[in-house]
């Protein structure tokens, strides 16, 4: 056969196959996340598995830094060409639902979620009783401490009360070595607010109660005062606390390099700690949040993430997106009865929220680092998911940072935080 004939036959075969290929991948959906390239690769592998079983659906994954995630969803989510699926923080849901950027879950998905996830997690993924997303991860805060530094400072056990906490922070502080006892975080709203809120709920207080800000309570006053004490005593150094757009930066560097004795952080930073510390990660242990003078027992702040579907996407894309998400979060997609989503999350040290996933990953969740988080989950208080929540969080961040840098007293910080929160939440619910 001549070359010309081979070329003609190849072209003809290609033309015949073209409509079939077009049919085979007739729906393209995209998934927007803030995960690292390694985790994105795991999600892409799961998407390929799904496409093998559903050749009519192609899934592409796109990642942006955490600091740009909400902006990207806001600026591109309003169009049918925007991301079909987005991973979101539960605090953002009320406003995204109000602006009709996210689609309600179909009945089949909603009933599956309601039966397979804990009620609190389902409620965080709902607005006005309507479920908008499939929850996937739950994060909770605990005290992380460096065992080697504790030993060197002669501290036998992690602090259980604020008095012990302040004492341990003072003993761990060594100015000559550039070492601080307790590491705060700044320049990142959740990183500033969640540890503060964890201490507040462990002191019997609340950020928001019955939809109204509760930062004027005596318990909140004591929590602001605790921050002031730690700063004034030099046990916490604000210059060591900066975070960048990728939620890393000096605050993380100082902890992994053994210059910070304790920090209050969520379980998901296990992967960042392992990457930064290598074998020295074994020095890190987890303990419940120390209890304040007005608190009853250790509590913590929890929040969840979920995947939502773009309400402006075409009908076929929305259907394919829910189909993909239902598969990704089902016990059939992962290993040993776990969902593929939970396998991805566990690779980062993130707790999955589906009940069957927690059971399937029981062994890994029992590791020294993660078991400390699992144990405090039962008494954790969800971060208030309210309209204006993100602005409230950013405003409280500014106030806490001003307190960290000595620009305001604890008393003024408390008054400013309550006044700002009242104004922001009041405006948002108008």
């Amino acid at each position: 056969m001549s070359l010309a004939w081979i070329s003609k036959l190849t072209l003809a075969a290609g033309l015949i196959a073209l409509p079939a290929t077009g049919w085979a991948q007739s729906v393209n959906i995209s998934y927007l996340t803030h995960w690292s390239p390694e985790t994105v690769a795991l999600l892409e592998a799961a998407a390929k598995d799904f496409s093998r079983q559903h050749p009519d659906v192609a899934v592409t994954v796109r990642a942006v830094p955490f600091g740009d995630l909400l902006t990207t969803l806001r600026s591109q989510g309003g169009s049918s060409d925007g991301p079909t699926i987005g991973g979101i923080y539960d605090l953002w849901l009320p406003e995204l639902a109000k602006d009709k950027l996210v689609a309600p879950a179909p009945d089949a998905v909603a009933s599956e979620v309601k039966s397979a996830w804990p009620a609190g997690v389902v409620s965080a993924a709902s607005v006005g009783g309507t479920l908008y997303g499939i929850p996937n991860e739950i994060d909770v805060y605990a005290l992380n401490y460096n065992k080697e530094l504790f030993k060197a400072a002669g501290i036998a056990a992690p602090p259980k009360t604020w008095a012990e906490f302040k004492d341990a922070a003072a003993k761990l502080t060594d100015k000559d070595k550039g070492q601080q006892g307790f590491g705060m975080i700044n320049s990142w709203a959740a990183g500033v607010v969640h540890p503060f809120a964890s201490l507040l709920v462990s002191n019997g207080g609340n950020l928001v109660k019955d939809g109204k800000p509760a930062l004027d309570s005596p318990q909140a006053g004591e929590t602001f005062a605790l921050y002031e004490d730690l700063i004034k005593s030099g046990a916490s150094i604000p210059a060591m606390a900066t975070a960048d757009a990728n939620t890393t930066g000096p605050f993380l560097d100082n902890f992994v390099s053994g210059k910070t004795g304790m920090i209050i952080m969520a379980n998901w930073w296990e992967s960042a700690l392992k990457a930064g510390m290598g074998d020295k990660f074994a020095n890190i242990a987890t303990a419940p949040i120390p209890v304040g003078p007005s608190g009853d027992k250790p509590h913590s702040i929890s929040y969840s993430w979920m995947t939502v579907v773009n309400a402006k996407a075409g009908e076929a894309e929305q259907k394919a997106a829910w189909q993909f998400l239902a598969w990704l979060n089902s016990p059939k997609s992962g290993k040993n009865g776990a969902s593929a989503m939970s396998d991805i999350l566990m690779s980062m040290g993130i707790l999955p929220s589906r009940s069957s996933d927690i059971e399937a990953h029981k062994d890994k969740l029992g590791s020294e680092f993660l078991s400390g988080y699992v144990s405090v989950l039962g008494d954790a208080r969800p971060f208030p998911v309210v309209l204006g929540g993100q602005e409230f969080s950013e405003s409280l961040q500014q106030t806490l940072e001003a307190l960290q840098y000595g620009q305001v007293s604890a008393k003024d910080a408390q008054a400013n935080a309550q006044a700002d929160a009242t104004s922001i939440l009041g405006r948002a619910t108008k």
């Binding site: 902006t71 602006d99 060591m240 960048d244 000096p250 390099s257 700002d420």
Partner: protein, 296 residues
């Protein structure tokens, strides 16, 4: 005849005027209109409701909205002033150094100076955030060698904005040096020869010949430097996220947070209008100042 001339001029100008109208004037007018509305960026314009001067009242008010806006406006003003004050003299100094024909390697030096301007901001941000690292940063290590203690750089509200200014100066000074060199080439060499014959020394030649004849170039440089500085966004978004304590929260970054992240389109537009007005006032004042000097 005149009628035909006007008609043909109109036809020739129409495409450019239409493009400018659609892509420049219309968005500006729309922003001004939105600044008087209560509007979420996620809803159609038809859902905007008129609130008069409410948004302006809010952004200059005592609540967190007003406080954050005023801080961002002040930060932008400080950033702009410092950038211009540092970039312009440095560009003239580097321009004079590089322009000396006798100096060997002048072209290579010019290329090195300009190369910083060509480096993408993401690379600059990555490198400088590490250079500024308080604990392990090379800058603090260098300072340690000469007996100066570690500086907080980006980690302190007192030094964070200045640190961002230094980064900006490092990146932009090469571009403005090229502009200064272009200005220097326009000054006739005969003026310097005549001045030398009249006994003027180098300093006098710089004061009475170079600087006055560079005035137009410096005016252009100043206007461009102001516009560039007012529009600063990337280093803040990539490195500091506006912190700590809002000390690097500049207006463009803040408007993005309010207008896009929080979808408060009316408030964001009011802030954008104030930014535009501030820029117009600054540039007009600069032109008026230089024109007065010219007429003197």
């Amino acid at each position: 005849m005149a009628k035909a001339f006007r008609a043909s001029a109109g036809i020739m100008l129409a495409p450019a005027v239409t493009l400018i109208g659609v892509f420049v004037l219309l968005p500006m007018l729309l922003t001004v209109w939105l600044s008087f509305q209560d509007w979420s960026t996620q809803t159609p314009f038809s859902e905007a409701s008129f609130v008069g001067l409410g948004n302006f009242h809010e952004i200059f008010g005592p609540t967190s909205v007003g406080r954050d806006f005023k801080t961002a406006l002040l930060n932008t003003a400080i950033y702009t002033a410092l950038s211009v004050v540092l970039i312009l003299p440095l560009s003239v100094v580097f321009g004079l150094l590089v322009y000396q024909r006798e100096v060997a390697g002048g072209t290579a030096l010019r290329t090195v100076l300009f190369s910083t301007y060509m480096v993408p901001m993401i690379a600059v941000a990555l490198v400088w955030s590490k250079l500024y690292s308080p604990s392990e940063g090379p800058l603090n290590q260098l300072l340690g060698l000469v007996g100066i203690g570690p500086q907080p750089w980006l980690s302190s509200p007192r030094s964070a904005l200045v640190s961002i200014v230094l980064l900006n100066v490092w990146q932009q000074v090469g571009y403005f040096t090229v502009l200064a060199i272009a200005g220097l080439t326009q000054i006739p060499g005969s003026l310097y020869e005549a001045a030398t014959l009249d006994g003027a020394n180098g300093s006098e030649q710089f004061r009475f010949i170079t600087l006055p004849l560079l005035r137009r170039t410096l005016l252009f440089s100043a206007v461009i430097a102001i516009i560039n500085a007012v529009q600063v966004f990337e280093p803040v978004a990539l490195i500091t996220q506006g912190g700590p304590v809002g000390s690097t929260n500049v207006l463009t970054y803040h408007i993005r947070r309010v207008g896009i992240e929080r979808a408060q389109g009316g408030l964001g537009s009011a802030m954008a209008v104030m930014l535009m007005l501030s820029l117009i006032v600054c540039v007009s004042a600069l032109f008026a100042f230089v024109n007065r000097k010219d007429s003197e």
